[in-house]
């Protein structure tokens, strides 16, 4: 397949692996966090860790939009779908995420709630247009990657007076979460994972531009390399991080130049500015409340804001005690270090969100990597 196979070439991979092995100093460890769930998935799927020296370690980050949504927000979505006469449109992954009392949108659907699977906000928008007498709500989740399309749909709804359409907005921002992980007081208190460098998100950076991480890298003195999602992209990004760390640099570098610029996508950012404003604070699963880390709709567009339209409040909900999603999302624990991993918590009956989405660290490890522990244990 043209434009994809080039980035999956095994022979080239061995060349880059050799370069990493040469560059990595045997005297130290390189603890690198791939922020993005898409990267976590690719690392597991292509078996990239097999190609890295033993002192270059990958730590999974929180960049999976399904995983970082706190249980309280899913409870709210279920309340919306069951207590109000609406059609709730959402992505397939969201259906299975466990809410309070092990309820889920899928269970709500089976009990009669009108929950529909969509591929994008455009499908929800079309559904609202085709059913003018039915209120349609789009359960919007995701980072800066998906937020512009939500913004665009809201703009179109405003222009076309599509008043039976609204958005339950849960869009979150990448840089504040990265800053939180790298340096908050809470992290130091909980003995957070030591992270030497970060592989920055690819799709998010197409929108935000690489400049979005410059202050994070500077303040926390950690190099960030933005990478694409193909395995060679990731190998190259690891090499770039190793070289920065060897040189004592902490800059933002861009491996994903075929898609990401320093300034980002001006048109998409204009949509974000037009429609959204920052919430003073937003709860992230595992990371807690982070200031200025999420979007809500500006007053001009408030009639398309499902939270206001249906009076949905937010109640913090308790995580299941056995579930270590929080510590895994912070990079403090590996999925296999959670007691529930593979026993009480599997993709078929997940305890926590990290086991649901294919971008979740636990699901990626369960589906692609869990044979490794057995090999290690028997060795």
């Amino acid at each position: 397949m043209k434009y994809a196979d080039e980035y999956r070439d095994g022979a080239l991979a061995r060349v880059v692996a050799e370069k990493i092995a040469q560059a990595a100093s045997a005297q130290r460890r390189y603890r690198l966090m791939e922020f993005c769930g898409g990267h976590t998935h690719a690392i597991a799927r292509y078996g990239i860790t097999d190609l890295l020296p033993s002192n270059v370690n990958m730590i999974h980050g929180p960049g999976c939009p399904v995983c970082v949504l706190p249980i309280g927000r899913i409870d709210s979505a279920i309340e919306l779908a069951t207590r109000h006469p609406v059609t709730l449109c959402t992505y397939a992954d969201m259906l299975r995420v466990p809410a309070s009392n092990r309820f889920s949108l899928m269970k709500a659907k089976a009990r009669g709630a009108d929950v529909r699977l969509v591929y994008s906000v455009a499908d929800a928008f079309k559904l609202a247009q085709e059913n003018p007498l039915r209120e349609t709500v789009f359960l919007a989740i995701g980072f800066e990657t998906t937020a512009p399309s939500s913004a665009q749909a809201i703009c179109s709804a405003y222009r076309q007076r599509l008043n039976n359409f609204s958005v339950f907005c849960n869009h979150v921002l990448t840089p504040p979460a990265m800053a939180e992980i790298l340096g908050s007081a809470q992290m130091r208190r909980t003995g957070a994972a030591q992270i030497d460098g970060v592989i920055g998100p690819g799709h998010v950076s197409c929108i935000t531009g690489s400049q979005a991480y410059e202050s994070v890298a500077r303040e926390h003195r950690r190099p960030v390399v933005i990478a694409g999602f193909e395995p060679l992209d990731l190998m190259q990004a690891v090499l770039m991080l190793v070289r920065q760390l060897n040189a004592g640099r902490h800059e933002v570098e861009n491996e994903y130049t075929r898609a990401v610029t320093r300034a980002g996508n001006a048109k998409a950012k204009a949509y974000l500015d037009e429609v959204f404003e920052l919430r003073p604070t937003f709860e992230w699963r595992g990371l807690g409340e982070i200031a200025n880390s999420a979007y809500r709709l500006k007053p001009k567009y408030e009639r398309f804001d499902a939270e206001l339209r249906y009076g949905i409040g937010y109640r913090q909900a308790r995580e299941p005690t056995a579930c270590e999603c929080g510590r895994i999302l912070r990079g403090e624990k590996r999925p296999s270090e959670c007691k529930a991993f593979g026993t009480a918590c599997t993709p078929e009956s997940p305890l926590g969100a990290c086991m649901v989405s294919s971008e979740g660290a636990c699901a990626a490890h369960y589906s692609y990597g869990r044979f490794r522990e057995i090999a290690e244990a028997s060795a």
């Binding site: 994809a4 061995r14 692609y368 044979f371």
Partner: protein, 349 residues
């Protein structure tokens, strides 16, 4: 003397007519549908007897029996339709025991309002597939449900077959050291359906691989009577079939990614749709497991058959109490190829 007039019924309108409730009610309308459509298409000595069952002599030896319901959406897709799929799928399930399929039975659930033209197209396609395969449909049943209670047409087919002496094929017979062979490119059927549903076109169109595999299997068991496992990787694709073998046999399987044949268009479509071709359904492919010493002759026998021309050796069986399927990636790493979680593609067959 006055003659009693023969009752006249207007012939079924296969151009503009539609299925109505009377076609399933047991009266004249149902008899007419059976006569003018099913009997004509499937015509054979058993149906001509007009009994509620087919009666046939039982050959000596071991028999196999299988049944399969077909609910594919859309009903017509590039490379096939629900009719030929219902014949091929069930014949293949019999064939995967190394058996020779003998007879088919077919049950139809029709939705009120379904166009007779479409029904005729489907039944003709079924009859064509059955005739080509040399496996007659010897008995059947038709039911009609109210509009909205089904989706056009659902077809259940049942088949019986006979296993040649000395053949013992089962998913539980894979042994460490065995080789794993696939008969051709994987993912074609599922991608043909998905690309049709999603309105994707890729320059060259992808067609379903729907085909009856019993003839290929006959040649395979002739070349290597000691084949250990055979299965057609339909729903859940190659990955699911291999996980079934691993679990049934209590062994591990290690695949070589670069050896698995996948069409470039299928790969591209999967990339776009976010699917893994290893989990995408096939309707005209099989996976075989045999002793290492038999692998070359089995491959040769498969490649000599039109439906096995692209057969490839893709992996081997090893001892693993966890029964994991692993894969050496083309990129150079290793990973698991696990059971499918949830539903990748609904109503694919």
């Amino acid at each position: 003397m006055r003659m009693v007039k023969q009752g006249y019924i207007r012939p079924l309108d296969f151009k503009n007519g539609r299925v109505d409730m009377s076609h399933g009610a047991g009266g004249r309308a149902m008899a007419q549908l059976i006569d003018e459509l099913f009997m004509r298409a499937f015509d054979n000595e058993w149906l001509r007897q007009r009994n509620d069952q087919a009666c046939f002599a039982v050959p000596a030896g071991r028999m196999v029996m299988t049944t399969d319901s077909h609910v594919v959406s859309p009903l017509f897709f590039p490379g096939g339709d629900i009719g030929c799929l219902a014949v091929h799928g069930t014949i293949n399930d019999v064939a995967m025991a190394g058996a020779r399929p003998l007879y088919l039975a077919a049950g139809f659930v029709l939705e009120e309002g379904f166009p007779l033209a479409d029904l005729k197209r489907i039944v003709d396609s079924m009859a064509g597939a059955a005739q080509q395969a040399g496996v007659p449909v010897v008995t059947g049943d038709t039911k009609v449900v109210e509009r909205g209670k089904a989706d056009g047409v659902f077809i259940t087919t049942t088949a019986v077959g006979v296993v040649p002496a000395g053949i013992d094929i089962s998913g539980s017979r894979a042994q460490p050291g065995d080789r794993v062979i696939v008969s051709g490119t994987v993912g074609d059927h599922g991608v043909a359906i998905m690309s049709f549903r999603e309105n994707l076109s890729f320059g060259t169109s992808i067609r379903s691989d729907s085909a009856a595999l019993h003839d290929l299997v006959a040649q395979m068991v002739q070349a290597v009577p000691g084949i250990h496992c055979l299965r057609d990787p339909t729903r859940g694709g190659l990955a699911t079939t291999l996980n079934e073998f691993a679990q049934q046999s209590g062994v591990g399987i290690r695949l070589t990614e670069s050896a698995i044949p996948i069409r470039p268009q299928v790969n591209a479509a999967c990339e776009l749709l976010g699917l893994d071709p290893l989990y995408v359904a096939n309707e005209g492919k099989l996976v075989a497991v045999c002793a290492a010493a038999d692998a070359e002759s089995l491959l040769a026998a498969m490649r000599a058959h039109p439906l096995g021309r692209e057969a490839a050796l893709i992996g081997e069986v090893f001892e693993d109490a966890y029964a994991f399927v692993q894969m050496q990636t083309a990129f150079g790493g290793a990973r698991m190829v696990d059971w499918l979680v949830g539903e990748q593609l609904p109503r694919i067959c």
